[in-house]
């Protein structure tokens, strides 16, 4: 598996994500937001957590217009895989690669803690290492993770089995407890929780490891 991790000014989970990809066996290149091309033959692009451009204007809005995003769109259009975590999820909704938006947490507070996530589907390269119904412990750390979409969009996401993770105890007001969603081709995952922060025994939990291992298994055999 060949992975690329985009680095924006203010990204702060880029290296954690690279470590998690490498631990699963991936070759990883870091790509600066001002670059206009991804490395050749990249299977998956990671859009990391952090505070790109200081969260100015809206979280992810300025990053969504960075030069590298043209190449990201082209990669997605080719059917390439994309994993957006936390700020990366916000960037993906701002680009329109995933539907909906992330609003300020309903409780207005920045929330940093480990939460329970129920795996809703194992039918994706990201989640096939879990069983539907599994509850995994994954950390969240965000101020704007309150998933919003109109009712028709929410119904479509559920009808097409595109909700991958739901909070067992909603920490941020997200509609229908949604923590992570897939694109219609099931190759783009955006999620607010941080699986890369639960991918090593030293993190205090390894429930995120299965996500990276599943990806590596899928994308190596592909």
């Amino acid at each position: 598996m060949k992975a690329a991790v985009i680095v924006f000014p203010g990204s702060n989970c880029d290296r954690d994500l690279a470590v998690a990809f490498r631990a699963a066996g991936a070759d990883v290149d870091m790509v600066w937001h001002k670059d206009t091309a991804l490395p050749d033959n990249v299977d998956i692009v990671g859009v990391p957590g952090g505070f790109s451009f200081g969260d100015y204007l809206r979280c992810g809005a300025i990053a969504a217009n960075a030069p590298i995003v043209g190449a990201l769109r082209a990669h997605a259009d080719r059917g390439g895989y994309v994993l957006g975590i936390c700020n990366g999820f916000q960037v993906l909704t701002e680009t329109g690669l995933l539907p909906g938006a992330l609003l300020r947490n309903a409780g207005l507070k920045y929330v940093c803690k480990t939460v329970g996530l129920r795996v809703e589907t194992s039918q994706s390269a990201f989640s096939e290492g879990y069983n539907a119904g599994d509850v995994v412990d994954i950390p969240i750390a965000h101020h704007d993770g309150n998933y919003f979409a109109d009712t028709a969009t929410l119904d479509r996401l559920e009808g097409e089995d595109r909700v991958v993770f739901r909070y067992t105890d909603n920490p941020n007001g997200s509609q229908r407890d949604i923590a992570g969603i897939l694109s219609d081709n099931r190759r783009i995952l955006g999620m607010m929780p941080h699986p890369e922060r639960a991918a090593d025994a030293g993190h205090g939990g390894t429930d995120g490891t299965a996500l990276f291992r599943a990806l590596a298994g899928q994308l190596t055999s592909a």
Binding site: L57, L103, L108, G173
Partner: protein, 92 residues
């Protein structure tokens, strides 16, 4: 002298184009910040505030000849997220 100075100021004003963009969450999108402000107003003794919606104002200092259509494009591409926000443009 004073008269000439004034005239230059006025000419300068005419050359400047501004647009003011008002961005606010759409109706139906919960605005927790507005709700917090409403609570704080009530706690401060201001009765009768039934609702608060909080948005932002973006002032654009524009090159002469910039059209409202161009500002609309700026709103659609960057200044507003039309999934959750509506915007209004005042050209002046």
């Amino acid at each position: 002298m004073a008269f000439e100075y004034l005239e230059r100021e006025e000419a300068g004003d005419r050359d400047r184009m501004k647009a003011t963009v008002h961005v606010i969450l759409k109706n139906g999108v919960l605005d927790p910040q507005g709700e917090a402000v409403r609570h704080a107003l009530g706690a401060s003794g201001f009765a009768g505030v039934n609702g608060v919606r909080q948005g932002k104002v973006i002032e654009l200092d524009l090159a002469d000849g910039t059209t409202e259509a161009q500002v609309t494009e700026m709103c659609e591409k960057l200044l507003a997220n039309t999934v959750i926000e509506s915007y209004r443009i005042d050209m002046s």
